[in-house]
Symmetry: C2
Subunit: 405 residues, 2 copies
């Protein structure tokens, strides 16, 4: 996947510029454009407080066709009232004008501080400047990816190529997210955290199917990541399909293969968000099996992932598994300590209600790695879920207590 990028799927161009919205002098206004009216789907935050671009974006994507995406970082355009809505619509109009399409064919996104009106002069300049430099090179893909970053320390992208008979289909994406991460995105509602993801593909997929595929891929990826469990006002994941590969995805077999490839791209992106969680020094992958049902498995995995005590223990390489078992019991779904088995980095530490004899120092050493695996078998049913999170460090506090409005 290493050489492919967001613009490898045929039929897309992008660009981004620094328009002076962010403090940091990296791109903050970006355009992603499809040559044709792409089949499009998007999922949005389920927060009752959603940003103006989320409102406008939901309306614009409803028809299943988009020509492009316009995004800014440095300002979330959230909690900005009617003026915020007018600004989000204005962003679409400005982008539509330079692209040559209808404003309703543009998905707008914003990320950054909440509660401040967008500096529309800068946004407008940025859109015009970006339009003058549209291209499909790796450099263009990189710039667009940079334009959505805020507190992120790393760029996040993934891409894949799959053969469909004689055709090669590509799926690619970029995303951002480091803090305010706890997405619960659905087609009609929203996630936790500002998480933005833009996915491109040159497969030909009808809008209703694309929506279904995107929602499913998000559930097993972005919606399974949490940094601070704070669902954002702006979370958005959008998938545009140009159809330029000529490969039509409609047979059951093709749909399954496409879904698997899309799932792989989304999981890679989601994992990168966990790894770049604010202050993170490691990823914690929590896999719950044999829970009473899938809902219970998800709830238990999330409760463990969101426990500050578990996250701190992970930071300190402390095999304090009592925090994990107690977190599993607190979320209100069926769970029985007398039936479960817990493994930390492959070492069984608790089984059927009883602590096991462990070499705590040796296990602590095994936890001093970039990814710690927590496996909880509940011994109850067939519910399975995996959630990714990161540890909680002093650096998280520094970032979030000293980041002033």
């Amino acid at each position: 996947m290493s050489e492919l990028h967001l613009l490898s799927p045929r039929g897309f161009k992008a660009s981004a510029v620094y328009a002076g919205i962010k403090m940091k002098q990296t791109p903050d206004v970006g355009l992603l454009v499809c040559d044709c009216a792409a089949s499009a789907a998007a999922v949005f935050t389920t927060n009752k407080v959603f940003a103006a671009p989320v409102k406008v974006g939901r309306e614009n994507v409803a028809g299943g066709r988009l020509r492009g995406v316009v995004v800014n970082s440095g300002n979330a355009n959230a909690c900005t009232g009617k003026q915020g809505e007018r600004d989000a619509v204005a962003m679409c109009k400005l982008a539509a004008k330079v692209i040559g399409c209808d404003a309703k064919e543009i998905l707008p996104s914003s990320t950054g501080i909440i509660g401040h009106l967008l500096p529309m002069e800068k946004v407008s300049d940025g859109i015009r400047w970006a339009a003058a430099d549209l291209g499909n090179s790796a450099k263009h893909a990189l710039q667009f990816g940079d334009a959505i970053l805020t507190t992120d320390l790393t760029r996040k992208s993934a891409a894949i190529e799959v053969k469909f008979g004689k055709d090669r289909v590509r799926i690619a994406g970029v995303c951002k997210g480091s803090g305010m991460i706890g997405p619960h995105m659905t087609l009609h509602a929203p996630p936790h955290a500002t998480m933005l993801a833009y996915l491109t593909t040159d497969a030909k997929v009808a809008p209703p199917l694309l929506r279904k595929l995107l929602a499913k891929a998000c559930d097993g990826s972005f919606n399974a990541v949490t940094v601070d469990d704070h669902m954002s006002t702006n979370d958005t994941a959008a998938l545009l399909a140009s159809g330029a590969s000529g490969a039509l995805v409609s047979s059951k077999k093709d749909v399954e293969r496409f879904a698997a490839a899309l799932g792989e791209v989304c999981q890679s992106l989601a994992y990168q968000i966990a790894a770049d969680g604010e202050g993170a020094t490691k990823v914690v992958a929590i896999t719950v099996t044999s829970a009473a049902n899938e809902k219970a498995a998800k709830a238990i995995a999330r409760a463990i992932a969101n426990s500050l005590l578990v996250k701190c223990a992970m930071h300190g390489n402390d095999p304090n598994w009592g925090r994990i078992v107690s977190a599993a019991g607190l979320c209100g779904v069926p769970f029985d300590a007398d039936k479960c088995q817990l493994k930390l980095q492959g070492t069984a530490v608790f089984r059927k209600g009883r602590p096991l004899v462990i070499d705590a120092a040796a296990l602590s050493a095994k936890m001093n790695v970039k990814e710690v695996q927590v496996d909880l078998n509940c011994g109850m049913g067939d519910g399975v879920a995996t959630v990714w999170t990161c540890d909680l460090s002093r650096e998280y506090i520094t970032i979030n207590a000293d980041y002033h409005t």
Copy 2:
């Protein structure tokens, strides 16, 4: 309330000793004894994973009568299987023997590390030593209060005296809690965090009424405190009524007065837990009014209280109110940013969907105090709730990442 203490209500004795269970050389085994078979009620954690003493305690308090409480700190006796249950029963038997009652009349409690068997020899010695020193002085009350502490930095106690006609009724209590704090205690199930509270009164209250009064008092106090929202396996709040004042609480008016006084004691104790939250430098009091209903008010207040981003902003005296509004929207209950008003330390910052012009530096200075007040009027219905939490500091990480098992 300053001169009254846990043993001011007539009919109670207590004592505590250091038996070598905790690292820190402060009391770790305590006894609280009533001269008679007290009317008793207790609420326990609703965590599906509950400690052995919680299991035994639920059974023993079911009859509504107790002679005493035996407690140890330094070891939670949780996730310890059948042996843990036998140890909790053994604690009751040892205490019953020295008190001269039935083991079923004893409520056992433990707090500390999860997943280790109790050092029963030390517990047994501790109970015998404590029994030899029972008394009702302020010093005895202090010792018992100390015996329940773990990571707490401060002692927590409260007491009140109320006149009932010619009788003076006293209500007093001690509690512990600093981390693993997010109680949801109910009569039949459990809370978040190890929170222990023991309350005494010399009023005469029938067990069924006592249970109702305790549950109600806990809802507005202990269950409204969160430090890390991690419901513990051991949370317990117990109330013993000796009846020694002679004042019978049964008329509607008397019940209301008693409930108010009990509520005051519990709220004082709960507030002390928030103030001593691990790493806390300040209390954050979140009051939600005009929510769609009471359940929604509680959910919104808790979501704000548990947001790491809000807690970090409080630590940094940052009036980043977007984090508060977005937290209010993420918990799934009805909330509409276009109807609400948010005040931070009395200063309106957001009203009906629109940000207000504020002097951020002046407001930040107003937040640099020991208690920050957050007031969110939802503009929807008559739901009201208050939740207390603390800020999140680097010290929290230090305490919980470096506290090794």
